[in-house]
């Protein structure tokens, strides 16, 4: 069976759903971050998948944008982990439910 574009999109959707579920369901803040990364990469995959359906001249954008988003994701992971370390030093916990000083 040939690789249909819809399969790629379905895989992307699946990955995104897993990422989102991880981010929402897990309390460990590292897993939350991992979930977010997964969701991000799902979107990248979706981009590339759509790029494949277009003629070569127009598909460039679909292949370029994920590159940017990967670079940004690297920076984001860097900052995110640094934040987590700082918060951990402060709160002695990686449980995101403990990070609730916004309230009150």
């Amino acid at each position: 069976m040939e690789l249909q574009p819809i399969f790629i999109q379905m895989l992307a959707l699946l990955l995104f759903a897993i990422g989102l579920a991880t981010a929402l369901a897990r309390r460990n803040v590292f897993f939350v971050l991992m979930g977010i990364e997964l969701a991000l990469n799902a979107v990248n995959l979706s981009f590339v998948g759509f790029a494949k359906t277009l003629p070569a001249a127009e598909s460039v954008a679909g292949q370029i944008v994920p590159l940017f988003s990967i670079a940004v994701a690297a920076a984001e992971a860097c900052v995110g982990l640094a934040l987590v370390i700082l918060i951990f030093r402060n709160r002695e916990s990686v449980d995101s439910d403990n990070y609730s000083n916004m309230k009150g």
Binding site: A23, L24, R27, V32, S96, D97, Y99, S100, M102, K103
Partner: protein, 651 residues
């Protein structure tokens, strides 16, 4: 020699400042300091070179003057100013006596400042002063003049407070600086006023004159008059600050705290006359606003009279001279107010000679008496210091307007012009004549108390009284010669009008514009000369009758020679008014402070409190856990997307 560039004139004192300043800084560590001969020679050399270049330029000057633009100074969209120089009849006269008398006084200072700790520093300041003064006089635009104007103010401050180990000197310096600042604001606002009228281009004197001519030719003067009048008034405020006129006259008597050569150079001969110079420079502008000229005239009259009366009651020899300077400046302003700018500048010129001679003479007397300034401890000095006495007596005859001496010609000219040109001329003439009588009285008092009678100081000092050294006497004698003969450049009664001719291209148009409208009464100049002579003689006679025949006031040895304070100073009235103003400003500041502190902060607090309450209310919707928040926002997003998809968009 007309191919000499104009910038060479200010260049020499600037070089002198840099060189002497470097020497002063370098030698500040060493105990002995640099050789006085070396420093003195340098400090006279640069002003003298400047003087020589002025003389060379002055002889080859074409009738309409020399204009040179050195470089671009400010070039931004709204403001284009060049550094340019204008050497015409007016700047020629001013430069000749500024650099000439400056060189002489630098020479004199070598003797006067001998052995002083700040010898080099003093001459660096003097050179900086001459540089600023030359820039002030030579510039071709108001903005560059303002630069020089501030520069001379700074030097005045530095030199009044030269002996800065005494707190009183520092206070006097601060007072001079701050009072001048009030005037400088006037100058600055005046420039802004003009700039609103014709852009920054008309800050140039030539452009300003052309602008006024254009207004007159086009018949638009009435439209522009209100703004020009405000500008004129503001410039006049600037002049009252710099030239110590009512109401900003209080700083000049205090400025006598500086070394005497400084008083002679800055506070008598040159800097204080820059106000008169500015009036003459802007004469074309002032000619279309006769109301402001009337104010100038009245202020000049009040100042001349008030300061002359105040001069009668001073015991400090330098204070007498300070008040007489203010009084003479009042004469100059009166002349300018009567649109007799050439007579006004002529008086500036002759006054520079005889007042510098008087101050240098007073300096020699103080030097001879080892720092004594109180006239009640002087007397009989004509036998001990004959040359100084002769110089001062010549200068005295010049200032009271004794026939043939410099002041006679210039003061008579002013009085004559007052009578013929000014509105209510008879009144102003009468006050001027009365002031001349008082001038003769207080100057006679000074001469009698200092040089005649018997010596009234402490006996042990008497043996040490000595004539000043030659390098001090030489400038004094030159200035005394000037005090005798400077007036012959414009001896109206003798028909010599050289001086009028040199100034005519600059101020002639403005004068004719105002005076041409008047039906000038034809008067015999000899009659004025007779009245003027009579005033001088009467004053001398009164002075002799009061002070010459009786026992003179004697200062008790134990009283000390400190000035007897605030009240006897006769500026107390104006000091009082100033302090009222200061109190008013303080009150306004207090009110503003309370307003900001209480009212505005209350508003701030209210807004802050509202924000806090609203925030508290809204935050109760917030979920405690991050994950729940995230889930809720996702649900919201999904709901929104569903709505948009199902309804096909909200709009």
């Amino acid at each position: 020699m007309t191919n000499l560039p104009l910038w060479i004139i200010p260049l020499f004192p600037l070089l002198g400042t840099i060189l002497l300043g470097t020497v002063a800084v370098v030698s500040s560590g060493s105990k002995k300091g640099p050789s006085e001969g070396f420093v003195g020679a340098l400090s006279v050399l640069f002003p003298a070179l400047s003087f020589v270049s002025v003389v060379l330029l002055a002889f080859g000057m074409p009738e309409e003057g020399i204009r040179q633009t050195l470089c671009n100074w400010i070039d931004i969209p709204m403001l284009k100013v060049n550094i340019g120089f204008l050497f015409d009849g007016l700047s020629r006269v001013m430069l000749l006596f500024v650099t000439g008398i400056g060189s002489l006084i630098a020479l004199y200072s070598i003797g006067y400042m001998h052995g002083d700790r700040g010898f080099t520093r003093f001459f660096a300041y003097i050179n900086l002063f001459l540089f600023s003064m030359i820039v002030l006089v030579l510039s071709d635009s108001l903005l560059l003049t303002f630069l020089g104007w501030e520069g001379v103010g700074l030097c005045s401050y530095l030199l009044i407070g030269f002996w800065n180990h005494d707190l009183n000197n520092c206070k006097a310096a601060n007072k001079a600086f701050i009072v001048n600042r009030v005037g400088d604001i006037g100058f600055l606002l005046g420039m802004l006023c003009l700039a609103t009228l014709g852009g920054s281009a008309i800050l140039n004197y030539d452009a300003l004159n052309k602008f006024i001519e254009m207004l007159i030719a086009g018949g638009h003067v009435e439209l522009a008059t209100p703004i020009i009048a405000i500008a004129g008034l503001l410039f006049f405020v600037g002049c009252t600050g710099k030239s110590a006129q009512i109401p900003l006259l209080t700083w000049l008597p205090d400025a006598m705290a500086g070394p005497t050569p400084v008083s002679a150079l800055i506070h008598a001969a040159t800097m204080v006359t820059s106000g008169v110079y500015l009036l003459a420079r802007l004469s074309r502008m002032f000619s279309v606003i006769p109301e402001v000229l009337m104010i100038v005239l009245i202020v000049g009259m009040l100042t001349a009279f008030w300061a002359a009366v105040a001069g009668l009651f001073q015991n400090d020899i330098k204070k007498v001279l300070a008040y007489s300077t203010i009084s003479q400046l009042g004469y100059m302003f009166m002349a300018a107010g009567a649109s007799a700018y050439d007579a006004s500048i002529f008086h500036v010129f002759t006054h520079a000679f005889f007042k510098a001679a008087l101050f240098l003479g007073a300096g020699a007397v103080i030097h001879a008496l080892a720092g004594e300034q109180d006239m009640r401890r002087m007397g009989g000095l004509i036998k001990k210091t004959p040359v100084t006495a002769c110089v001062m007596i010549f200068a005295f005859l010049a200032i009271i307007g004794f026939p043939g001496f410099a002041g006679f010609w210039s003061k008579d000219l002013i009085l004559e012009r007052l009578y013929t040109n000014a509105p209510f001329g008879e009144f102003f003439y009468g006050v001027g004549l009365l002031t001349a009588v008082i001038t003769a009285v207080y100057m006679g008092r000074l001469i009698i108390m200092t040089f005649f009678g018997e010596y009234r100081g402490p006996k042990e000092k008497e043996a040490h009284i000595h004539e000043a050294p030659a390098c001090m006497l030489f400038p004094m004698v030159i200035l005394a010669v000037g005090a005798v003969f400077a007036g012959y450049l414009w001896a109206d009664s003798l028909g010599i009008k050289f001086f009028e001719g040199t100034l005519a291209p600059v101020v002639g148009v403005a004068q004719d514009f105002v005076v041409g409208k008047l039906a000038v009464a034809h008067v015999n100049p000899m009659a004025f000369a007779c009245f003027g002579t009579a005033a001088a003689l009467l004053g001398m006679f009164i002075a002799y009758a009061i002070y010459g025949t009786k026992r003179l006031p004697r200062l008790h040895a134990k009283w000390g020679s400190a000035p007897e304070g605030f009240k006897a100073d006769w500026t107390f009235f104006f000091d009082y008014i100033h302090s009222i103003f200061i109190v008013m400003f303080k009150a306004a500041a207090f009110v503003a402070d309370v307003f900001v502190d209480k009212v505005l902060q209350a508003i701030q607090w209210t807004i802050g409190a509202i924000a806090e309450i609203v925030g508290d209310g809204v935050s109760s919707f917030q979920a405690r856990k991050v994950r729940v928040q995230l889930t809720l926002s996702l649900v919201g997003l999904v709901a929104l997307t569903a709505v948009v998809l199902l309804t096909g968009g909200l709009f």
